[in-house]
Each structure stands twice: as C-alpha cells, then as structure tokens.
C-alpha cells in the first residue's frame, strides 16, 4: 500500500489571500480508497484549503506543492483540475440566474467525461441520482442555486459530484445547515462516492456528519496548519473534549 | 446653532415659525459696491484687498469668461434665467479689519453670532472659527496646538497675503474659472472663504469650522475655499450656514477646491440652510491622489434653488471618494443636488448616498455622474438614492448618468421614490405616537445614515430643523 503513490499530496503549502497568509505549511497525503476528515474551528483555514485545492484565483500559493495523481497542479486552472478528477462541493455555491441546472449539468458532464452523453442516457442517469438524493424534478428547470434553500444547495452539490464521479471529492462544510433527515440523505450520497479508486476529503466543523460518513483519518486544523492527526476515534474525542483540548495538549507538549 | 440653544426650545415654542432662524440686522456697512458687475468693480475689489497683480488679472479674465458663458441649459432653467445679475451687490465690507479676538468684534455682529450660538459651539469643541459675516471675515481664531503643528487655517484674503506662494500654486487648479458660469463669477468677485493647509502626516482631531451668513439685501456671497491636505494628513472641515429672510433674491455662489495628496483624508461637511430666497449655486470639487480619501457630507435644507454637485476626481490608484447628501425641499424650493465621481485611476472606489424629501410643493432632484475612464481597472462605484414624497404637490426627480469606458469595473446604481410607509406610521402610532411624531421619527430614521456622520451638535441641530419643517405638516 505504501508503495503506491498518493492520490493527493499536499506539501508545505502556504497560501495568501489579499496579502494575508492563511495557510502556513500544510502537509497532507491522501491515497485512493481513503476517507479523510479535516476538523477545526471557524477561521482556522479549512475552507481556504478547499478553495486552494480547486484553484480559486483569489487564493495564491506562495510556497509548497499540491501533487494530484503525481502532478503539481498549482498552475492549473479550475477546469483543468476538474477534468483531472477533482471536485469540490462548495459551502456557499454561487447562484447563476438564467442558467438552468439541467443545461449546466450536461455541459459539465460533457466537459469532465470529454464526450457528449446522449440525452436519453444522461436523463436516466440524472433521474436515478436525483431520486437517491431526494431532489425533485422541478430543480432541473430552475436556475443554478438561485433561490435555493441551504439544504437544497447542498443536495445539488452532492448530485453534481455523483454525476461527475471525481477521483477526489472535497466536501466543504457540506453538513452545515442540514436537518437530521437531510444529513442522512446527503451522507449516503457521500458514501456512494467512495470506492477503492476514489478518495474523499471532508471538511467540517462538527463531528455530527462523521457518524454517517466514517473517516479513517482525522486531522485537526488550527491557524493554517494541521496540528494533530489520528484515526476515526479522534473526531469523537474532539466532540467530547472540544478543540481547546488539542491546543492545550500541544502547548503542554511544547513545554515538556 | 449650539446644542444649548436648541435644547431649551421645544417644538411647541418655535412652532412653525421658521423666521427664528431668519432674524435680520440693520445694515451698517463701510463699503458697498454698486449694483451690477463691471471691470471697475472687480478692479476695485482687488485694490481694496491689496491683492497681487496676478490675482487681479485672474479676476479680470474670469469676468470675461463669466460674461461670455451662456447660462446652463439644465437644472432649473426658469429660476436660473430669473437671476438678475445687474441687481446684485458684488462686494460688501462690514468692518475694516479682521478682529483678533472676540472682544474686538463689533457689537451688532456679535449679537447675530450670539443668536447663532457660535461662541458656545467654540467653547465646546471648535478647533478654530472663521465666521464669515457678509463678504469679509470678522472673527477668526485658531487653537494654539494647530498653529504649533504648522496647520494653516485662515480666511482666504489673509491666506493670500500670508501664503501667496501656496495659493498661487493651487488656486483654480481644481476648478478653473472657465469650468462653468458660476465658477467664473466666483473667480471674478470672490471674497472670504477659508484657506486650510495641513502639513504632511498631521491629523487634526477636532473639526475646523466656519459659519457663513448673508445679511445685506441683494448681496451676493462669493466665498472661496481651498483645502490642501499634504500626504498622510487628515482634516475635517465643517461649514454651517443660516441666513435671514429677505423679500428679494440673494445669490450665493461659492467655489470650494480640495486637494487630497497621497494617503491623506479630507472630510468636508456642510449644513446649508440658506433662507428661502437664496440662489445657492456652488461648485465643489476635490482631487484625490493615490490612497487618499475624500468625503463630502452635504446637507441642503434652505434656499430657493440649490444647484450643487460635489465631485471627486479620483486620479491616483486606490483613491476613495464618498458623497453623502440629504436634501429637503419645502414650498417654492428646488434642491437640485447630486454628486460626481470620476474614476481616472485603477482600483479607485466611490460611494454616493443621496436622500431627499419633498414637501408642500417642493422639488428635489438628484443629478449625478459616475464616469470611469479606460484603464481605471478594478474600479468600484455604488450609488444609492432614496426619495420620500410627503404630499401630492411635491416632486422628485432622479437623473443619474453612468459612463463606463472600462470593462473591469463594478458599477451599481439604485434609486427608490415612495411616500412615508403607512405600515410604519401605523405601527408607531399604535405605540402611542402622534402622527407628527411618528412622521418625524420615520424621517429622522430616513436621514440617519447622514446624521450619524455629523458631530453630535450638528446632528441635534439638523434633527431640530427637520422637526421644524415637519411639524404641522401631516394630518
């Protein structure tokens, strides 16, 4: 297993946003078949990591590498990264009035798969996924994220990932704002993304979703770095003891 | 007016009588120019002030321009055309010399100022007072610490005598005489106004203030103000105006030039409350260099016709401009006010917020321009105009213009016109407020983005004026 190359390898990643350094040396390896969770307080830099991975122009890499399938993707545009097999489920996906969900999904699927999917086949596939995620048909005619509730946006994000079948799915706070029923459905959607060829990176503030999507690896994010890593049990410990516990532990270990 | 004066009067004892603010003194003037405008009068003005030759030449050239330029064909043409330039006194000197301290100010003038509350205001927080009474400054003081910091705060006439080099370098560079008919007129006959120079890095914490009054019948008031903020400095300048009411019309045509050098910040606050026969035709413009910030905070309540569009030319990268204005037009009043933002450098930003109320047949117009030149990439501008109409006789116009010659910009304009919300009125009245009280409260709320930017005493004064205007107006 270790002989394999990681699907994603983040090495000493430093990122600036408008002259302010947010990520201060992140190291993270994710192999195919793994589910990772990054947990941390608001403002710790978790979302910056997700935006940087998919290549938002506002997030400038000042140092370090992002190797995806062995290739440094730092210079790649977002669409190149997406075609390469990376997808981000946004925490706050933007609305695009006038562009219908169905038009958009077809254009996107065509771009990612590199070929046009016959309309009939595409519709079947789409309907099946929509049913799984409890997305009503009328969404296809609506404009992207325009007037969607928080929960609806999250489902449509997962729906997109289900269609695009990325090698690496990054989920940014996908659990926030979901009631328990929606959480279960969305979690199932996330679990369906997982197979031995793909990996999932869950970014979350709460432990809640980890009851449904079980990560093998949990990382604690603080001040732009991963300060502690562990197995799935770490999330439960965090839930019970709070983030301060990690910080205290860090400080005391520094002293001793 | 000071807060004290305002606080011991209630709405009840002022009632609708607006003349409280329009008392009138007996005229007692040392020199009064003849009516009408001639080369001789301009020369005479310059001679009396012992001005350098270049200023006389400047004035005479401006007079030429004024006489040649046609009247603007926009705004309120009827009212503009009714101005009788032949029937205006272009210069009045009410006392021979600027008084050095309060005791030397002539008694009659002092009484007028007392009633306006200037000394109280000064005692409280004035950094310096340049109170312009008629065309000449009669009272002037400046705090010692400002002097020590090297700040210059003088009336323009003294400024020209004492700092000719600075004034010659900047005078008329922001607003040339030929800019428009009224800037030409001002350039020919200007008298008084303020000259402020803030040295590099000096931040003046307390606002500088000046009061202006028009007192002689048919007298034009043509003050000229120039403020230069050297790099990294800050100054807040406040002018407040009240004027007595007369039966024939008066003309107020000021020119205000602001120069904000890199990294500096100028805020210029005006509360204009001219009596309702004054034509208030003012040209105000600022040049904002790199990383500087200029704010015009502009309240227009009085006058018969105001045409005033404070503008900011954003000439250096990242310069920021704001115009925050309110206008109130009552019976026979037209407030034609607005703002201009010229984006001529990258990453410049601007904000215009305009609020107006028309009542009793009054008319308010917002007239604005946002211009973005090519290569002013990353510029952002946002304009928001809200108008309230108090009755079916009144009128509100909005005339914004956006000229965008650069792609990479974000420009937004929004405007609404409505009447005072019945639901809001009902809600407040259901809590026991009378309709007048509820209306005044809603209107104070409507103007709140403006008043919150004013020093406390001005905010109190403004709310008071609004209450006066509103009382008895509804129901």
């Amino acid at each position: 297993m270790t002989a394999k190359q990681p699907l994603l390898s983040v090495q000493n990643l430093h990122v600036k946003v408008e002259d302010k350094e947010i990520l201060k040396g992140v190291d993270l390896n994710i192999y195919a078949g793994e589910v990772h969770a990054i947990m941390g307080r608001n403002g710790s830099g978790k979302s910056t990591l997700s935006y940087t991975l998919i290549g938002h122009p506002r997030y400038v890499v000042t140092e370090g590498k992002i190797l995806f399938k062995g290739v440094d993707i730092v210079e790649m545009t977002p669409d190149q990264r997406a075609r390469n097999g990376m997808a981000l489920a946004f925490q706050y996906p933007v609305a695009i009035p006038g562009v219908s969900v169905s038009n958009f999904l077809r254009a996107s699927v065509k771009a990612i798969r590199g070929k046009d999917v016959p309309v009939k086949e595409f519709r079947q596939e789409l309907k099946a996924q929509m049913k799984k995620l409890g997305v009503a048909d009328e969404f296809l005619g609506r404009y992207i994220n325009d007037g969607f509730s928080g929960g609806e946006k999250k489902r449509i994000e997962i729906l997109q990932l289900a269609l695009l079948k990325p090698a690496l799915a990054v989920l940014d706070e996908t659990d926030s704002g979901l009631d328990i029923d929606a959480l279960k459905i969305v979690s199932e959607g996330i679990n369906n993304l997982s197979n031995p060829e793909t990996a999932i990176l869950l970014i979350t503030h709460y432990q809640r979703i980890l009851n449904y999507v079980e990560p093998q690896f949990v990382h604690v994010f603080q001040d732009g770095r991963i300060v502690k890593s562990g197995g799935g049990e770490l999330s439960k410990e965090l839930e019970a003891r709070g983030y301060d516990w990690v910080l205290q532990e860090l400080t005391s270990s520094a002293v001793s | 007016m000071s807060a004290e004066l305002i606080q011991d009067q209630t709405i009840g004892n002022i009632g609708n009588d607006y003349s409280q603010y329009g008392f009138q003194d007996k005229e007692d003037y040392i020199f009064k120019s003849g009516r009408g405008l001639t080369k001789e009068i301009v020369t005479k003005i310059s001679e009396m002030k012992n001005e350098p030759e270049w200023m006389l030449k400047y004035r005479l050239r401006a007079l030429d321009i004024f006489l040649k330029k046609p009247m603007p064909r926009w705004g309120n043409c009827n009212l503009l055309d009714s101005i009788d330039f032949e029937n205006i006194f272009y210069f009045v000197r009410s006392s021979e010399k600027s008084a050095k301290n309060w005791d030397d100010v002539p008694e009659g003038i002092k009484q007028t100022f007392d009633r306006l509350g200037i000394p109280e205001a000064e005692r409280k927080f004035l950094a310096g007072v340049t109170a312009q009474y008629e065309s000449e400054v009669v009272y002037h003081s400046i705090r010692e610490d400002l002097l020590a910091q090297g700040v210059i705060f003088l009336d323009m006439d003294s400024g020209l005598r004492e700092h000719e080099d600075i004034i010659r370098k900047h005078f008329g560079t922001v607003i040339p005489a030929a800019d428009n008919k009224f800037s030409a007129l001002n350039s020919a006959v200007w008298s008084g106004g303020s000259f402020v120079w803030v040295p590099e890095g000096v931040k003046i914490e307390i606002p500088l203030q000046a009061y202006f009054r028009i007192n002689a019948e048919n007298m034009g008031q043509f003050e000229r103000t120039l403020i230069i903020a050297e790099p990294g400095s800050f100054v807040h300048y406040i002018e407040g105006c009240t004027a007595p009411t007369y039966s024939t019309d008066s003309l107020h045509s000021a020119v205000v030039e602001l120069i904000a050098l890199p990294g500096s910040h100028i805020r210029y606050t005006t509360i204009q409350n001219w009596s309702k026969n004054v034509y208030n035709l003012v040209t105000k413009r600022a040049v904002a260099h790199a990383d500087s910030k200029v704010e015009w905070v502009d309240g227009n309540l009085g006058s018969k016709l105001t045409m005033k569009y404070p503008s900011i030319h954003l000439v250096g990268p990242r310069a920021h401009g704001e115009v925050l204005s309110i206008a109130f037009a009552g019976e026979d009043q037209h407030q034609d006010a607005g703002a201009k933002m010229v984006h001529a450098a990258p990453d410049t930003t601007s904000l215009i917020i305009s609020k107006s109320i028309s009542k009793n047949g009054g008319r308010t117009s917002y007239r604005g321009l946002v211009k973005v030149y090519p290569n002013a990439t990353g510029s952002k501008s946002s304009v928001k105009c809200d108008a309230l109409l108090m009755d079916e006789k009144s009128r509100s116009d909005t005339y914004p213009t956006m000229e965008i010659d650069e792609k990479d910009v974000t420009i937004e304009h929004e405007a609404t016109v409505s009447k005072v919300g019945e639901e809001q009125l009902f809600y407040l009245m259901s809590r026991g407020l009378t309709q007048d009280e509820a209306t005044a409260m809603i209107i104070n709320g409507f103007f709140e983005p403006f008043t919150k930017e004013l020093p406390l005493e001005y905010a109190v004064e403004l709310n008071r004026l609004i209450q006066l205007e509103m009382s008895g107006s509804v129901g």
Binding site: R81, A82, Y143 | L389, I404, K407, V409, I411, E414
Partner: protein, 450 residues
C-alpha cells in the same frame, strides 16, 4: 421611378409621388404633406441632444440616401431569408405572416374564422387601399414632435397593419417581416420607412412578432450608410391584452432609428420584448403611455452588441392615470468594442396616484473595449407611488465563472453559459409560442460568434 433622394426638394416630390403612385386618398396626402412640413420645421437632432447622446447622428448625411419602395409587387413565391424560414418553425401555430422582402410582398392568408371575426392583418399599403377609413384615425392619433417620426409619417411606404376587433381573442401570433438590402448595388445608401400600426379593440387579445432586418447587397464595399426609419404604433384599448416581440437584426451598414409608441388604455395590458442584435447604429425609443386607470405594461429589452456596433435605447414610461403599473427590464451585453447608451425615464404625472413603476438596467461588459452608459431617470409628481430603478455595469461575475470552471467548463464556455443565462431570465417573460427558444438560439449564435 420608385427611388428618390432625401434632400428636401426631391423628398417633397416623393411625398407627392407616393400619394399618386399608390392611389392614396387626398386626406392621406394631406397628412403626409403636413408631416413633411412639420419635419422641415423641426431641427435635426445632434449628438449633443440628450436623447441622441453619443450617437453618430451628426455624420448621417440624409442627402446621400435614396428612399426605396419595398413590396412593390405581390409575390407569394418570393424567397424568404433562410434564418426567417427557421424562425417560422418556432411559430407553427401562427395566425398569419406578412413579409416584405425587398420589392416582394407576401401577404398573409388569414383563416376564414379570423376573417369572419373582422380581424385584419396585412401590409400597410394594402390596408390603406382596402381599409382606408378604418385605419385613418390611427394614422394621426399619436402626435409627435420627433424629427424622424415626422419623416416616417411623411414617407412611410411599407410596414404592417394589425386590427383585432373588440372581444376577439387570438391564440397564435401574427408574424411580420420587413427585410431589405441595405446597398442596392448603388454607391449610395438607401432609406426605408416602415410603419406598423396595431390596434387591439376592447377586451381583445393577440400577439405579434415583428422582425426588422437587412442584409448587405453583393456590392457591399461602399462605406455609405443606409437608413431604416421605423415607426411602430400600438393602441391597446380598454381591457385588451397584447403581447409584442420585436427583433432588430440589421447589417453593419445600417443606421436604424426606431420609435415604438404604446398607448395603453383602461385595464389594458401590454407585454413586450425588444431584441436588438445588429446594425451599425441602432437608436430606439420605446414610449409607453399608461393612459387610463388600471393600465399596465411589462417591457423587456435585450441588446447584444459586438464589433463596433452602437446601441442607443431610450425607454419612456409615462404614467398619466392613477393605479397604473409599469415595469422595464433592459439587459445589455457587449462584446468587442460595442457601445451602448441606455436611457430610461419613469414619468409620473400628478394625477397618477398609486402608481407602481420599476426599471432595471443591467450591462455586462464582455469585450475589453466595450462601453456602456446607463442613465435611468425618475420624474415623480405624485406622492402615493412606488417607484424604483436600478442599474449595474460590470464584467461577468468572477465567482460564477470560477464555479463553472470548478465543474470542468473552460473559461470561454463558462462565460457564454452565463451570458445566455443573463438573457434567458428576460426571455422567460415572453409567452408568444416558442418565441423564447427562437430568440435564445439567435442570441446564442451571436454570443458564440468569434
């Protein structure tokens, strides 16, 4: 001879000729002559006039133009432009098509049912011939002091007449095409003066698609401009409902000056969509007068500019009566170094209490040299009103582009999708047949053009 130059003397002759060559009644000749005289007395607008801001009206030399007659012969077999044939497939339920293609005229064959109900849909020439007394009052009902309107009223010699009698409701749209060749093989440009009059009787209901278009002749090397001066007058009488779609698609030789005047009476409703996608200079005025209690209008506008096209649209919403409602949604996207000047005014008269008027103008700048001016104005003289307007100018939202790119779309693809979406929102309002799909295709084609 059916051509004449537009310099004063010739044109006066033309006014006379039109009257005699078409066998027009004397009252019509008098109308033409009085319009011509008013035209002569009206000063030529200049680029300094507010409504003609930044247009190249000063460079339009009328004396070089030859007025031509469209539709001089009836020819049911005349060849329609291919794209128009395509367009018609979107209106397969149409109630009638009138097309003027160069000199040929194709007249609508109305169903017996429509004819029996008294519906008229034909070329204006035919209407003047067959229904002179019916059309007569509508020729002078809407006055004007506009130079080019007066010019059209003196010289109009093509266009369409729609008359829907009271209480008649018609489902399928009427379709009208005015198409000409901007260079007639001559060194000089040509001038056409189409006039469309639509009358919706009380409580009637109908829809109309009007296409104004041109293509260059074979000898397209000449630099001289042609003029299309079109007048559209719509009378929506009490309780009637009218939906109107206009497409302006001229070639890059054409200076088009169009004026649409909608007169809306009590409780009547007009919905309209104006789409401008080509021409050298397009100057369009859309005036909507809400004349009586309860009248309402909902107007959409689309400008899609490219190369050095210039668009100057002015919308005027006049509220002359209480309880009237108007809405304008005008969207502009500019590629290349195209330029747009949008001016919109909401005028609320003193009597027009309880008016609700809204206006929105959004401009997307796509080309690095594209320029947009927006001048939304309000003149409100009544107090119990709800009026607002908003305007924005800027490039495509970068966050939207990023979102689509993160789903695999390349940047240009993402931009195209967003721009078509920008217009689709406007198109949603159009309910004429499958019109919105047609317009969407037409727009998508131009957006995609490199």
């Amino acid at each position: 001879m059916s051509e004449s130059k537009l310099i004063n003397t010739f044109a006066r002759e033309r006014v006379d000729n039109l009257a005699s060559q078409n066998g027009e009644p004397s009252w019509l000749k008098e109308l033409r002559v009085s319009s011509w005289e008013a035209y002569l007395q009206t000063p030529m607008p200049t680029g300094r006039d507010e409504g003609w801001r930044k247009t190249e009206i000063d460079s339009l030399d009328l004396s070089t133009l030859n007025a031509i007659d469209l539709s001089t012969k009836n020819d049911l077999k005349a060849k329609l432009p291919d794209w128009f044939e395509t367009a018609l497939t979107f209106f397969d339920n149409h109630s009638g098509v009138v097309a003027e293609v160069g000199h040929s005229s194709i007249s609508a064959k109305l169903s017996a049912d429509l004819v029996s109900q008294g519906v008229i849909f034909c070329s204006i020439k035919q209407a003047l011939h067959d229904h002179a007394e019916l059309i007569r009052p509508y020729l002078s009902k809407i006055g004007s002091d506009q130079k080019f309107v007066l010019m059209n009223k003196a010289l109009f010699n093509s266009g369409t007449f729609l008359y829907v009698p009271a209480n008649v409701e018609i489902e399928g749209p009427f379709v009208s095409l005015t198409h000409f060749t901007s260079l007639n093989g001559a060194p000089n440009g040509v001038a056409i003066f189409p006039r469309l009059i639509a009358v919706l009787g009380k409580h009637s209901k109908a829809s109309l698609v009007n296409v104004l278009s041109s293509e260059q002749g074979k000898e397209s090397k000449s630099s001289s401009r042609s003029l299309a001066n079109a007048l559209v007058e719509v009378h929506v009488e009490a309780g009637a409902k009218f939906e109107y779609l206009e497409l302006q698609k001229f070639d890059d030789n054409v200076f088009a000056i169009t004026r649409t005047h909608n007169q809306v009476e009590q409780d009547a409703v007009i919905k309209s969509l104006t789409v401008a996608i080509g021409g050298s200079q397009l100057k369009g005025d859309i005036v909507t007068v809400l004349n009586a209690h309860g009248a309402s209008s909902d107007l959409q506008g689309i400008v899609l500019g490219d190369t050095d096209e210039h668009y100057s649209f002015n919308t005027i919403q006049k509220h002359n009566a209480p309880n009237t409602t108007s809405n304008i949604n005008f969207r502009v996207a500019l590629k290349g170094n195209a330029q747009s000047i949008y001016q919109g005014i909401i005028e609320v008269a003193k009597v027009a209490q309880k008016t609700a008027a809204f206006q929105s103008n959004k401009n997307l700048l796509l080309g690095a040299e594209a320029r947009a001016d927006s001048i939304p104005k309000l003149e409100i003289l009544a107090d119990d009103v709800k009026c607002s307007h908003g305007a924005t100018v800027g490039p495509v939202d970068r966050e939207q582009i990023f979102y689509l790119m993160s789903r695999g779309l390349a940047a240009p693809e993402a931009e195209e999708l967003i721009v078509t979406g920008f217009f689709r929102q406007i198109l949603e309002a159009c309910t004429i047949g499958r019109a919105k799909e047609w317009v969407y295709d037409v727009l998508a084609e131009k957006i995609h053009q490199v």
